[in-house]
Symmetry: C2
DNA sequence: CGAAAATTTTACCATTTGGTAAATACACGA
DNA sequence: TCGTGTATTTACCAAATGGTAAAATTTTCG
């Protein structure tokens, strides 16, 4: 018997699978699925191409493994949004967690972004089954806060979109951001301050009714 | 002499170049540069592959043509931001223009996003030469408004990032948005209202100083 | 019309790329 | 240390892909 899949994975198996996934994350995040080659991944991982195919069924298998592994991590900050916490704190902390994540895991952010950008060909089902229920749940939480008058009457769905957009922007559009911003140590803090100001301004209860 | 490049382009030339670029926009926006094939573009354009290569030097040439043509369009809404207009109106109108653009030109938005996501390998120089000067200029305009106390003391650079991020999100992450939002006619208006509320809340002069 | 120029098609080619078969080297428990 | 299953390499292959040469067709214009 060979077949890597079944039984308990050996020490070498775990190490090499980890090495391959890490290398693939680098390559896929930079070039996208179709732009990445197995040879690139192999080189990055320090293994031969056939050796990589000993651990994974193929290029697609690696990609899918990466994506489903990523889903958990990606949802985590939203999972932590506590219905029983202070609304302002909860939302602003969520923003901060997402921003930290974009900063600490830019490769993952770009992998995700690339997948969505191309129409989520591999992650579509995951979005439906994992992301949507969580999204709906947390939108309901925010709606509850609004009904209780604890935050302004905003649009929960679009609020979350704006949080995702603004935070992930720093990872996904890093090539643009780095051209436009002088390299300063303070940039991270400025981004954090800005987003805090942006969303706390929106949350303040005395928001006016939308015109137009 | 053949060589498409020089002299005045014929009727057929203009038509076919337009057809090819439009087809290529569809394909590149969906699959990215490396994910797109000349055969796909040819089929989409209703032309043969060699015929496409009669009008463009190669795949890269098509891509570059598309990107540089796009740059103008993309910068346009920011160009229109008027230093002598009312700050609130100017910024909120800019948000609206960007949102409209994401909605009306999703392919262009995704092409741009894909290029940046992969490190701007083709557009890097354009970012420096075209985008950065404009960005700096408009940041200065916003700074001026802040100094005059016309808007809150916000961070001009990151404000613009947030505007880009939130508006383009609807085009670039459409695959995700469409999973999470029920298909309603009102979605566009809700997004518009949300962003208006978001940024007008930030602009209001009585914003508090950032803590932390 | 008729010839020259522009356009399009047909038939290729070289390289890249995902993937496989089989032989070889290695690890590890008995 | 030996033997067995695990891990890795070597040597390939078929399909896809970007691109070209040259013949054939169509358009343009005097």
């Amino acid at each position: 018997m060979s077949e890597v899949v079944s039984k308990k994975p050996s020490r070498i198996q775990r190490r090499n699978r980890r090495v391959i996934l890490d290398a693939a994350l680098n390559i896929f995040a930079q070039h996208g699925f179709r732009g990445a080659t197995l040879d690139q991944i192999a080189t990055e991982a320090g293994l031969s191409k056939p050796n990589i195919l000993y651990y994974f069924q193929g290029k697609e298998d690696i990609h899918v493994s990466l994506l489903s592994q990523l889903m958990e991590t990606w949802l985590d900050p939203l999972v932590e949004l506590d219905p029983y916490g202070d609304p302002q704190t909860e939302i602003l902390d969520y923003v901060q967690r997402k921003l930290d994540m974009a900063r600490d895991l830019p490769r993952e952010s770009r992998l995700f972004a690339g997948e969505i950008l191309q129409g989520a060909p591999y992650m579509g089902p995951h979005l439906e089954s994992d992301l949507k229920p969580l999204f709906d749940e947390k939108c309901a939480v925010i709606s509850g806060w609004i009904d209780q008058g604890k935050i302004a009457a905003l649009d929960p769905q679009h609020l979350i979109f704006s949080i995702w957009a603004t935070t992930q922007h720093y990872a996904d559009f890093e090539a643009q951001v780095s051209v436009l911003l002088e390299k300063e140590a303070a940039n991270r803090q400025r981004a954090s301050n800005h987003l805090r100001a942006l969303f706390s301004a929106l949350l303040r209860p005395q928001s006016p009714p939308p015109s137009s």
